[in-house]
Symmetry: C2
Subunit: 464 residues, 2 copies
């Protein structure tokens, strides 16, 4: 798995700027950069430079100087990757960045794969796997909440939680093994109650983590929102109004793989993900009906359903529509958006206002075209998940891989819990505990396959 | 002029990447960053850190850690600006970059103006004005040739040339003053011939620099090309074919101000600037005729005129067109592009081949649609300016401000030259020499007004 070649990449954002950084990591990074760098202090060489120092000089190829640069020297094992690292800080022209990169490759370095610096940090034991994954999340984070969670995970908060769980499980195993030793003598557990108490605690902790993914995923990827409603009720106008909100920033989510292009909008500090909106936008399209069916399919993925109804339509039609969507809603937050209030019939609106609402339902009157009352709608959307009450101490799972591993770990611990009640033999219990330990270990990378590693790091940006 | 406040900016290219750098320069940069940075080595502070070293730690605000960072410490006067500088290398998320920048501002730094770091380097005598201007050119350079010239200028090559010229002028002044001293005694110049020789040399050097601007400007901004020709001869097809050349990279030129959007294309290592092509592209447009008139206006700005003729048209019409453009051409390179060879009449093509060409004219047969013979056309275009033969020792003027100052300096030295022939009094000669010295001095910034400085640095990118 561990490739000993020296790797290099442009680590700063792509494009032109004041400064750019080309990073080089590996056994030969000092040797390679020494062949192209001349210090302004005569005789100074990167190879003999003390760790954590800066050097000023030039980078040259055979035809002459390419740039005046500052070089940062980090020495193994006290570096990001755990290897010798040279960072070349050059003028931020694309031409210079490319020229220096090509020169490093010519001198024996190889272009780094996406995330390869972080992968090496993991392989060299500088961080565990969940911390390495958090590096990509940290870079991709666009809101305060997603940044906070990623940083905490990178700094080991989540790893501590997993370590704690594993220690508890090992303690439990010790008790079970005690029973195994005595089992031939047909002796019962010394104290089955305390065993049950311990496994209940572990199950509860894992469950809490599994459940946190709903919030974590919404924070990381935006709260998933589906806009539903008949043709011509103003769905696309509403979406555009929300996209154009003064403080809204439309952004791509980097470092995640999704097949469908979705609009992620940061509205007043909260990210919302409007998905499968292509169908919604093309309201004039013949395939609109198909689009509506697809929208229903997506409902179960949503945290919020905005059902747009047109208050200029007959009341019977509106109620029919609300009734229809209520049948499909499971535990999502249904916001009935009564649109076109500026032309709406007063009786219709009064009747709507008097309608009884479910516990997870809201009703907001707006004019998407006139942009009236959008703030109330946004407040309503923000109330769905308690992102703003996020405490510093909470561990929130944001990573699908972690969620899946935790779900498996939870199934295993549930079997242990049930096994204690039946009761089944300590042998079988031990097998389920090993499985639970395995899945928890896969999160921090104690047990991993190359394939999983490849999958994790391929979504990183190059240069990290 | 010199503002003592501590300034900060994001210096790396805008956007998301592995690493980003926030730079802070000024008297209080150590003090300010110390309030938000905690070293992982206990007790270490930026203020007491040796120069040119790196520190690892965290940046925090009152609500907690924002990021784990590496901090580079540069001390006055041995830094880029000549002031104390701290560079914070953080994870390249836009959120983190903005958070750290806002924190620095909260703690007393101020957002840097475009180019303000370089401006301070100039004001602190770390570089002269032409070197400071070269920093922006270096960052904007997209081709090998423009990079080479900008780097040379930044490293002082052009400044040396100007210094040399000024020394010669001072020497000349000394000789003139000698005459002034003796003038009351009605004594003639000791050796008027050697004076004339010296001023001729100076004039010739300045003229060479003035003339180099034609090449320098083409290298920096792309060789200006106008595509002329009747409607439907294939102008837009040709432009698109050139834009889509395998190795062509369409790029914006940063750091320059232009009112018209132009296509700058890097074809096989040479940049070409197709300007005012909007009219050319919309060949179906009713305003096409107006566009053609505008194209004629632009001819004088071009280095290359591509006259596209359609070989399926009657020969009389083609010759008429060639005749018409020849009347407008001054000293530009006229390339007659005989298009649609795949459908062309053989007699027409033979007649064209037999046509006599002027010394600065070429004829190339192509099919823009079939993309045949485009390479010959490109070679022909590349031959216009001898960019590829650019030597390491040549000083090339690329900056319009320098060109204008040199033109003024040249007028002044010409007056001195003529004055020696008349001859006029030493007093008047001395005045012209002072003027010449003034303009040369304005290039390197020995004489400058705030207004000029403001103009120069406002075109820089922020963070440099």
């Amino acid at each position: 798995m561990y490739d000993p070649s020296t790797i290099c990449a442009i680590s700063t954002p792509p494009g032109t700027g004041g400064i750019a950084i080309i990073r080089c990591s590996g056994d030969k990074s000092f040797e390679i950069t020494d062949t192209i760098f001349s210090s302004y202090t005569k005789g100074k060489r990167i190879s003999t430079q003390p760790a954590n120092t800066l050097m000023v000089g030039t980078i040259s190829d055979e035809s002459g100087v390419i740039d005046e640069v500052v070089v940062s020297v980090f020495k193994s094992p006290h570096s990001f990757t755990g290897e010798d690292i040279v960072e070349i800080s050059c003028h931020g022209s694309v031409f210079i960045q490319q020229s220096i990169l090509q020169l490093l490759i010519l001198k024996g370095a190889r272009m780094a794969m996406p995330g390869e610096f972080t992968q090496r940090a993991f392989l060299n034991g500088k961080m565990d796997l969940s911390q390495a994954e958090a590096v990509a999340d940290l870079i991709a984070s666009t809101t305060s909440a997603s940044h906070k969670i990623a940083l905490k995970q990178m700094r080991g908060g989540f790893s501590d939680e997993i370590r704690n769980l594993r220690e508890q499980l090992v303690k439990f195993t010790a008790l079970i093994e005690l029973e195994l030793d005595f089992s031939e003598e047909d002796v019962e557990f010394a104290d089955r109650t305390s065993l049950k108490k311990l496994v209940n605690e572990i199950e509860s902790l894992i469950r809490k983590l599994v459940e946190s993914f709903r919030l974590g995923n919404a924070i990381k990827n935006g709260i998933p929102v589906v806009i539903a409603g008949e043709t011509n009720v103003g769905k696309s106008t509403l979406l555009n109004a929300l996209l154009n909100e003064e403080k809204a920033i439309v952004s791509d989510i980097h470092g995640t793989t999704r097949d469908v292009i979705e609009d992620v909008v940061n509205i007043h500090g909260t990210a919302f993900r409007f998905f499968d909106t292509a169908g919604i936008r093309e309201t004039q399209d013949a395939i609109e009906n198909l689009g509506i069916e697809r929208t229903f399919d997506k409902l179960r993925l949503a945290e919020i359903i905005l059902l747009v109804v047109d208050v200029t339509n007959p009341l019977r039609l509106i109620f029919e529509r609300i009734h229809k969507i209520r049948e499909k809603v499971e535990n999502q937050h249904l916001i009935i958006v009564a649109n076109k209030t500026d032309n709406g019939d007063q009786d219709t609106m009064r009747a709507l206002k008097e309608m009884e609402l479910g516990s997870n339902e809201d009703l907001v009157f707006i004019s998407a075209k006139g942009r009236t009352n959008l703030d109330e709608l946004i407040s309503c959307m923000q109330a769905t998940l308690s992102i703003n009450q996020l405490g510093n101490e909470d561990v929130i799972v944001t990573n699908l891989r972690h969620y899946e591993a935790l779900t498996q770990a939870h199934s295993a611990i549930k079997r242990v819990q049930e096994g204690l009640d039946i009761p089944i033999s300590g042998d079988l219990l031990a097998q389920d505990i090993r499985e639970c330990l395995h899945y928890l270990g896969s999160i921090v990378g104690d047990v991993t396959e190359d394939e999983v590693l490849g999958y994790i790091f391929k979504n990183f940006c190059i240069g990290k």
